[in-house]
Symmetry: C2
Subunit: 331 residues, 2 copies
C-alpha cells in the first residue's frame, strides 16, 4: 500500500507538500501539484477510502450520450444513479466529457485530483482513450454496456439474450418465419451480443436465420433507409431492430414505401424509450429499465469501492407488446 510518505520520499519533498498537492491546496505551485499527482498515480497511490460513506464523492462521466431530457436514453440512468447515491449519502458530479478534457489529462490523474472514489462511464466507445486506460486503472469504475477484464472495472447492462429471446418467441407465436435483424454499430459490445442472441433465439424456435436478412446500421433512425427495401425483397415479414431509434427509422421507411405495419410487416424495437409509445403504430419493444440500470450502477460502484470484484450486473428486460406486431400475413 503506497502512502503519502512514500510519495514524499520519492519526490524528496515534505509530507505536507504531497498532502497539499493531493488535496488541491492553492499554496503550492501548479508544477509541483502536477508532479505530486503524476507520481501518486504512477506509484499506484489510492486515497484511503473513507469508512464514512457520507464523505464519498463519485462522478458520472458522459460522452456521446444524450441525457438532458426525459425522452433521451441517458436521462433515467443518470437519475437512478443519483437517487441511489442520495440514499447512501454520496455526492455525485455529472461531467460531460469531450475530446479536449480526455486528451489533456489521464483518467487516474483526473479522478485523484478531484477526489472521486469511483466513476460511472456512460456512452464511451471501446476505442476511446479513456477506455484503453481502464486496463490499468485502480479506480473503481462502472461501464454501461462495455466490458473490461480489470478487476476494478465492472459492467452494468440489460440481459439482451433474454430480451431478444422474448421478442423472437413473440414473432414466432404470430407465425413469422422470415425475421430480419437491423443491428447497431459494429464497434460496440452490445451489437455483437444482440447478433449472437438473435442467432441463438432463431435456432431455439427452429427458424432459419438468413444472412441476407441481417445487417449492421448505426444507433440512429437514419440508418434504416439503406436496409428496409433489401429486407422486403428477401421476403422478411418482421424486422427486429437493435434500438427504438432504429425502429422509428424503419417505421418511417416502411410508411414511405407504402408498406403497412403490422398488417404487412411487424417491427420490434429495443429500449422502450418514451417515444416508443408515441410512434404510429406504437412500438412493440424490449424494455430496458433505465432507472434500475442507474441504481444498479451505483450499487455496483459501491461494491467495487469496497473491494468486491463484481464483473457484471445484468437486469431483466421486459417485452412490451404494442401495435407494431401482428400475425404473419403470408400464413
Amino acid at each position: 500500500m503506497v502512502t503519502i510518505k512514500d510519495i514524499a520520499n520519492k519526490l524528496g519533498v515534505s509530507i505536507s507538500t504531497v498532502s497539499k498537492g493531493l488535496n488541491g491546496a492553492d499554496d503550492i505551485s501548479e508544477e509541483m501539484r502536477q508532479m505530486v499527482l503524476d507520481t501518486a498515480v504512477e506509484m499506484g497511490y489510492a486515497p484511503k477510502r473513507g469508512k464514512k460513506p457520507g464523505k464519498r464523492r463519485v462522478c458520472i462521466l458522459i460522452e456521446n450520450l444524450e441525457y438532458e431530457n426525459i425522452d433521451q436514453f441517458g436521462y433515467e440512468i443518470v437519475l437512478g444513479f443519483k437517487l441511489s447515491a442520495v440514499r447512501h449519502h454520496c455526492e455525485v458530479s455529472v461531467i460531460p466529457t469531450n475530446l479536449n478534457l480526455l486528451t489533456r489529462e489521464k483518467y487516474d490523474c483526473f479522478m485523484l485530483k478531484n477526489g472521486f472514489s469511483g466513476a460511472f462511464l456512460l456512452g464511451f466507445a471501446l476505442h476511446d482513450d479513456y477506455i484503453q486506460q481502464l486496463n490499468k486503472t485502480n479506480v473503481a469504475t462502472v461501464l454501461l454496456d462495455n466490458y473490461n477484464p480489470n478487476p476494478f472495472v465492472g459492467y452494468v447492462g440489460t440481459d439482451g439474450y433474454h430480451g431478444i429471446d422474448m421478442a423472437i418467441k413473440h414473432l414466432h407465436d404470430y407465425g413469422h418465419k422470415k425475421i430480419a435483424l437491423l443491428n447497431g454499430s459494429k464497434n460496440c459490445m452490445v451489437t455483437n451480443d444482440r447478433r449472437l442472441a438473435f442467432l441463438q433465439a432463431m435456432e431455439r424456435y427452429s427458424l432459419k436465420a438468413d444472412p441476407k436478412l441481417i445487417a449492421n446500421g448505426y444507433y440512429v433512425a437514419d440508418c434504416a433507409k439503406d436496409y428496409v427495401s433489401t429486407f422486403l425483397n428477401h421476403g422478411a415479414t418482421a424486422i427486429m431492430c437493435a434500438s427504438d431509434l432504429i425502429a422509428s427509422g424503419v417505421l418511417y421507411e416502411l410508411k414511405r414505401l407504402g408498406v403497412r405495419v403490422p398488417r404487412d410487416v411487424s417491427v420490434v424495437g429495443f429500449d422502450d424509450l418514451p417515444i416508443a409509445r408515441r410512434l404510429s403504430p406504437s412500438l412493440t419493444t424490449i424494455r430496458q429499465d433505465r432507472l434500475s440500470l442507474g441504481k444498479s450502477a451505483f450499487m455496483m460502484l459501491e461494491e467495487l469501492i469496497n473491494g468486491i470484484n463484481i464483473s457484471k450486473v445484468l437486469l431483466k428486460p421486459e417485452l412490451i407488446v404494442r401495435d407494431s406486431t401482428g400475425p404473419n400475413p403470408k400464413l
Copy 2:
C-alpha cells in the same frame, strides 16, 4: 395490491383473524392459520416490505451443499452473506432443508409464515420442487449458479467464461494443444456454461476441441477414475476440470497410473477451495471469490426486495497458478 382485508373478505373471517394467521399468533387454530396462509399466497399477498431495514429478516436455504467448515465450498459464501447482512442491520436465518421440509410446505407459504422478506438458495438442483415453484413466486429470491426468468428471482455466480478463458490461455502459453475437459454433472447450468466457455476458448487460441477429450462426470473426486485413462489414450497433455474436487480425483488417478504432474500432464481446477494449495502438487485453479459471492448475493437480494429486477450478478474469477501446470512435454 392484495390487502389483509381482501384475504379476510375472501375467507369470510375478521381482519384480526387474518392478521393473527399471518403473524403466527397462537390464539387461532392451526387449521385456520394454514388456511389464511394458503389463501394469502394464492391471492399473491406480499407483506409490506418495511422501510426500516432494521426490521428485515431474510434466510439462506441450503440443500446438498457443504458449508460447515472452512474447507467446504459453502462456508465463505454463507459467511460473506452474513457479514453484509449485519452491516445492513438485517437478520439472517440459515436453514438446511431436506426433502421432508420441502414436500411439506410450499416455498411462498414457508417464507410468508416465517416473515422472511427474501431468500438466498444454495445447492438446489434445477429439477428440485422449490426451484420449479420459483417460476411463479413473488418473493425476492437469489440463486447461486442457477437461472430463473421470473423477475423476482436473481442469479449470482462467477464469470466462468472469463475463468476458463484464462486457464486455456495459460495452457496454450505452455504449448499444450490436446486439452481435455472433465466437466461436472449434466443437469446443472454451470456445467453447460463451462462446456461452452471451453469450446469458445479453444477456438480463440486456435486449438482443436476433440469430442473424445470432453466428458461429463460429477462434482465429486471419485468421478475422475472413469475418464483419465481415456483422455491419456487420446493424447491429452492437459486436463481442465470443472471443480477442484474433480481435479483432486484426477491428480489421484494420474498418480495411481504413474503419470507425473506437471511433467507428463498438466491439471487445472476450478473454485480454489482451501484444499487446492494442499494437494500434491499444489493445484493451478480458477478462483471463485466465495466471500464476495456471499456479499454480492445479499446486496442483490436487497435490490430485489427494493423492486430492482437484477437478473445476474457475476464476479470476476482469478487464475491462481501453482505447481500442477507446466510445459507441454511433447514439444
